[in-house]
């Protein structure tokens, strides 16, 4: 590859990634040489500014047609842009949380790492959204995973944090191996790692044996990726890791990492498997491979919703409750994936966006209430309305949205998915009913939190007395989250119109 070819690429398409990469690199070098007493908080603000800059440059790119550089390994199509916006917003909010994070034992000496590792993880997630090749997809995935492992264990002297990181690494390693093994079979069947080329090769698989292998590869990849999504059967790490990890990291895992997981899942599902056939004879030969797989995905989606919502009922630790709730939400999102209706993308995008705001908001409140004492019992919410009415109202909005009560973004998201499940052909009644039933179950634990906040007197021995001080970063994040949750709940068309006018339903997905 000579210089001319290199220069001929439209590098501008990668501008957001370059910005994040640049900021992360500079921060890591400066962190190394900056004097010890320098407050590393400034790094966080620089990182935040970097994310905003990247977001601005990405929005600048929105009008651009689909670009593909580096021999199709990096694609900037509507899909990539739409989901990168979510990833960047999510990471920006998480950065605000991280800025206000003050664990009990302090983490001054490695606070800098915290910020640039977040950026590195974000970079991995963005690469995943944009990659057109299995190799870049895999590298992006691993960049995100490795950063998250370290982030989960960033409180070096805090045993639960260590333990959660260890659990995350071990499970993550196994999941990676599964995914990679599945990918190697797909490569073997097609002889290429380029996603678009695969799309063209796979429909020609003639041999029934090959289709079996394709099926097995599909399951291995799906189960491996379900680790990132925290859906059944690879969901069990989530509660332990969420509980042990520092709260901003938990927010990162449940929002950015999950969104990235869905991005990669959709990419692989629709490009690699999207054109293949379910068999080579009879009806199966006429059936799309994914349609043949629908029942399996539906089963996993149902299992995820049931496990997430039911087990959440038994939890006392607030972060575990939200871990299970995040499992359940991944289940709802899988319903949209299963249905593959004509507006699957809208539904997924909107839901992930709504989930981003309501969940980061909820974690912001959790962080504020739990970080001083390390007491994470659900009782920390007791009497919050008395102690900090605005905080309680904000949390109430998030909870209502998570529960899917009308008037909030969460409701519109669920409605989208629900209508999608019924409007697809064939309609997924069973799945839709499971979704409704588990949503009802979820009211119990969500309203448990509400009851604590509004109907319980505050514990008498509360050290800080009545007032809770909300740091600047956190209050910005809270305001953004509340406003977005309500605005997108009342006027969802703002988001959906933006989506339709700018991304045209991802018509360029397969070009």
């Amino acid at each position: 590859m000579d210089l001319d070819t290199l220069l001929s690429f439209e590098w501008g398409a990668m501008a957001p990634e370059f910005i994040i990469l640049g900021v992360a690199t500079i921060l890591s070098i400066v962190d190394l040489f900056a004097p010890k007493h320098l407050d590393r908080k400034i790094f966080g603000w620089i990182g935040f500014a970097g994310i905003l800059l990247a977001l601005a440059s990405l929005i600048n790119l929105v009008g651009l047609g689909p670009v593909s550089i580096l021999y199709d390994t990096f694609r900037l199509d509507g899909f990539a842009k739409a989901f990168k916006i979510l990833l960047l917003i999510g990471a920006a909010l998480v950065m605000l949380l991280a800025l206000s994070y003050k664990p009990k034992e302090g983490m001054e000496e490695y606070k800098g790492e915290f910020y640039y590792l977040l950026l590195a993880g974000l970079l991995g997630a963005m690469m995943m959204a944009s990659s057109g090749d299995l190799i870049t997809l895999f590298v992006g995935l691993e960049l995100l995973s490795l950063s998250s492992y370290i982030l989960a264990g960033i409180r070096k002297k805090h045993l639960p944090s260590n333990e959660s990181a260890m659990k995350y690494v071990v499970n993550g390693g196994i999941a990676t191996a599964f995914t990679l093994f599945g990918m190697s079979y797909v490569y073997g069947l097609t002889g290429t790692t380029n996603l678009i080329e695969m799309t063209n090769v796979l429909p020609n698989l003639a041999n029934a044996q090959y289709i079996y292998i394709l099926g097995i590869a599909f399951f291995m990849i799906f189960v491996g990726l379900s680790f990132k999504l925290a859906t059944a059967p690879f969901h069990m790490w989530a509660p332990d890791v969420y509980q042990g990890a520092p709260t901003p990291v938990t927010a990162f895992l449940s929002v950015v990492s999950k969104t990235a997981g869905f991005v990669i899942l959709i990419r692989i599902l629709l490009t690699v498997f999207g054109n293949a056939f379910a068999g080579n004879s009879g009806v199966a030969a006429m059936t799309n491979f994914l349609v043949g797989m629908q029942d399996y995905i539906a089963f996993l989606a149902a299992a995820t919703m049931i496990i997430g919502n039911v087990v959440a009922l038994r939890q006392r630790n607030i972060k575990r409750v939200f871990a299970y709730s995040s499992i359940a939400h991944a289940g709802y999102l899988l319903v949209a994936v299963t249905a593959m209706s004509s507006f699957m993308f809208d539904a997924l995008w909107f839901y992930l966006g709504a989930y981003l705001f309501m969940n980061v908001g909820a974690f912001a409140v959790i962080q504020l209430l739990t970080q001083h004492t390390d007491n994470e019992d659900i009782g920390v919410f007791a009497g919050l309305y008395k102690r900090a009415p605005w905080l309680a109202v904000a949390m109430g909005v998030f909870i209502l949205s998570l529960a899917g009560i009308p008037g909030t973004a969460g409701f519109i998201g669920k409605l989208n998915i629900f209508i999608g499940a019924l409007a697809s052909e064939p309609a997924h009644y069973v799945l839709a009913s499971v979704m409704i039933a588990t949503t009802v179950i979820s009211y119990f634990y969500y309203f448990g939190v509400l009851t604590q906040m509004f109907f319980r007197p505050a514990a008498e021995d509360e050290g800080e007395g009545g007032k809770i001080r909300v740091p600047v970063g956190l209050s910005i994040a809270l305001v953004i989250c509340v406003v977005a949750t309500i605005v997108f709940g009342l006027f969802p068309n703002i988001a959906l119109d933006f989506f339709h006018t700018n991304f045209e339903g991802f018509a360029d997905f397969l070009q």
């Binding site: 659990k167 196994i174 099926g215 069990m236 004509s342 009802v440 309203f447």
Partner: protein
């Protein structure tokens, strides 16, 4: 009328304003709430009178586009909506006023008014909604509002439990509503009432789906309106402050279910089965709840069961194709039941107990509350010339002309029960001697009595809007321009009215014999009117006869029914909850903290998927 959307906004402003500044305003918050709901009331009245002269007005705009599906939001003013607007804003305003006195001295006075504003907003929003989705959204919001209000005394364990129960029980019904709604949407392609009715009329939906969706939507109404078997939350909800009971559990929220069935009436009439279901559930609830009401000793619980029973009446009316009768009773019931609750609140305010066994002889002490309570009792008992008489009469006629004598006689018996237990309540509370030490019993302040007087007047005159004697003005207006709703007035045989009057008088008489007469000085009667005395003496056999046969059996039956309620209905609920909890427990147990177990679960999951895949030949369908 073009600006009717403003009406729900006033209480919303009240809610937001009090949320922001309530703490500073303290008890002055009451005036803010009162002023803003008064504006709603005035505007509602304007809209109602406007509606007399103008056709239905409807405005909407696209709210959400999913794929190529357009969902709209807007508002509509038709006869039913306009009437409901007035009922809701009127009762809400009166309750706002009344609470000024009732909640006086409460620490969280302003929060109470904020919640009232939220609830009123949701309820008014519900009644102007032109489509099912919007209705559903406000429907849920109403649920949230009532959850907050019922749980207002959250330091009481029962109140907390009741709030949760109300929310969850109505939520069970909402699931039915949601599924029915989505099914309708799937069939019609729109949530609009008009589009749905058009599709029903044109036969675009198969009969089976109509029945199914109608029944599913009715399940939602069952939950909200406290119909059997989802009624158990309503009596428990009496843990809330009494003005709340008057607002939510008499006039507005529980009527929302009836309103929903009325608003979707053309859908229901398209299916015989659905109508029949509504009628049967309604009639059964009416008699079931009335019989339980016979043995209750808590003043508010008696009223609660009577509400359940009266709502059953309304459902029976709607199910018997008596659209006008149902809506008419909804209106009269809103007034007299709100009156009864407020009067009960006034009694509780005076004596600080809810147990009627401990009351008695309050007639002389509560000079205003007593007569007002009596008016309410007469109205609900269906005594001629009071509003309840006319509306109940309409319902009975509807049930009779619809050709189902069983339901008709059930309704008649329920009417008898109603008269009996309401007067039992009245006699035990107001007549005779006080059965416990009552100190400082005094009449409530003006701010509480004036709303009651207004309701008292309405409880009498509301019936004259629609009578067989002076013209069926309300009925004719309600069905004007809409064939599907049936006739403004159905002529029924004259004996129905006589029967209705007789059973209610009989009930009152029996109650008097059992609970009123006891306190009469025997020689007072016998000395002055020996003939009457003798007659009464002979009647006494009747009393004993009733006591032995009818009353005993009814009492037994009602005890049995309360057991059914306690064990079967609650049992099913508990069973489901138990299964869910068991599953949760197992799930927690598997979560042992052993990271390798987690990996194993994932691997086993993968293995199962692959094995099923291979065995199924790769293709499940």
């Amino acid at each position: 009328m073009e600006n009717a959307w403003i009406i729900p906004l006033f209480p919303l402003i009240s809610f937001l304003f009090l949320l922001l500044f309530g703490r500073r305003l303290k008890e002055n918050s009451g005036y803010v709430g009162m002023a803003l709901t008064f504006l709603s009331l005035i505007y509602s009245l304007v809209v109602l009178f406007d509606r007399f002269n103008h056709p239905t007005y409807k405005a909407e705009a696209t709210w959400l586009a999913i794929g190529d599906v357009q969902l709209t939001a807007g508002f509509e003013v038709n006869q039913l909506n306009a009437l409901m607007l007035v009922i809701v804003s009127l009762v809400s305003f009166l309750v706002h006023t009344y609470s000024k006195g009732y909640m006086h001295g409460d620490d969280r006075f302003h929060i109470f008014y904020a919640y009232l504003g939220l609830f009123t907003f949701a309820m008014l929003g519900l009644v102007v909604s032109p489509n099912l989705l919007q209705t559903y959204i406000f429907w849920e919001l109403v649920g949230v509002g009532s959850f907050l209000l019922i749980g207002f005394y959250f330091y009481k364990e029962e109140a907390k439990a009741a709030a949760k129960k109300a929310f969850i029980m109505t939520r069970i019904g909402d699931v039915g509503l949601l599924i029915g709604m989505i099914l309708l949407f799937w069939q019609v392609g729109s949530f609009e009432y008009d589009a749905i009715f058009l599709a029903v009329e044109e036969g675009a939906i198969s009969a089976g789906i109509i029945t199914l969706t109608a029944i599913l939507i009715f399940i939602g109404a069952v939950g909200k309106s406290g119909q059997f078997p989802l009624h158990t939350w309503l009596p428990d909800a009496m843990e809330g402050p009494t003005p709340v009971s008057a607002l939510i559990h008499a006039a507005t929220m529980v009527a929302a279910g009836v309103y929903l069935v009325a608003a979707l009436f053309p859908l229901f009439t398209a299916s015989e089965t659905a109508l029949m279901t509504v009628a049967v559930i309604g009639a059964f609830t009416a008699i079931f709840a009335a019989s339980i009401g016979l043995v209750q000793t808590d003043i508010k619980r008696v009223l609660a069961y009577s509400t359940v029973s009266q709502l059953g009446y309304m459902m029976l009316a709607l199910g018997s194709a008596g659209y006008v009768a149902g809506v008419f009773h909804l209106m009269t019931h809103a007034f007299f039941k709100a009156l009864l609750f407020l009067a009960a609140g006034s009694v509780i305010h005076a004596v600080h107990t809810q147990n009627i066994e401990e009351m008695g002889g309050l007639w002389k002490k509560l000079r205003l509350t007593g007569p007002l309570f009596l008016i309410g009792t007469l109205a609900i008992s269906g005594v001629p010339l009071f509003s309840g008489f006319f509306s109940k009469d309409e319902i009975l006629i509807a049930a009779w002309t619809n050709g189902n004598p069983v339901l008709f006689w059930l309704a008649v018996i329920a009417a008898f029960f109603t008269a009996f237990y309401m007067f039992r309540l009245f006699f035990m509370v107001f007549t005779g001697q006080s059965r416990s030490e009552m100190k400082n019993v005094h009449e409530s302040p003006k701010v509480m009595t004036v709303p009651m007087i207004v309701l008292g007047v309405l409880a009498v005159v509301a019936g004259y809007f629609n009578t067989p004697w002076f013209g069926t003005f309300l009925g004719d207006w309600l069905v004007e321009g809409n064939e599907a709703l049936g006739h403004g007035h159905t002529e029924g045989p004259a004996w129905i009215m006589i029967v209705a009057t007789l059973v209610s008088l009989l009930g009152i008489f029996l109650a008097w014999l059992m609970y009123g007469k006891k306190s009469l000085q025997r020689d007072w009667l016998s000395s002055r009117m020996p003939i009457t005395y003798n007659m009464l003496y002979n009647k006494y056999y009747l009393d004993e006869f009733y006591a032995l046969s009818v009353v005993k059996t009814t009492k037994g039956l009602s005890v049995l029914l309360s057991y059914i309620e306690a064990f079967v209905v609650e049992g099913i609920v508990k069973g489901v909850a138990g299964i869910v909890h068991g599953l949760g427990k197992t799930g927690s147990k598997i979560q042992s903290g052993q990271v390798q177990a987690y990996g194993t679960v994932a691997f086993v999951g993968l293995a199962v998927l692959v094995v099923v895949y291979v065995l199924a030949g790769g293709y499940l369908k």
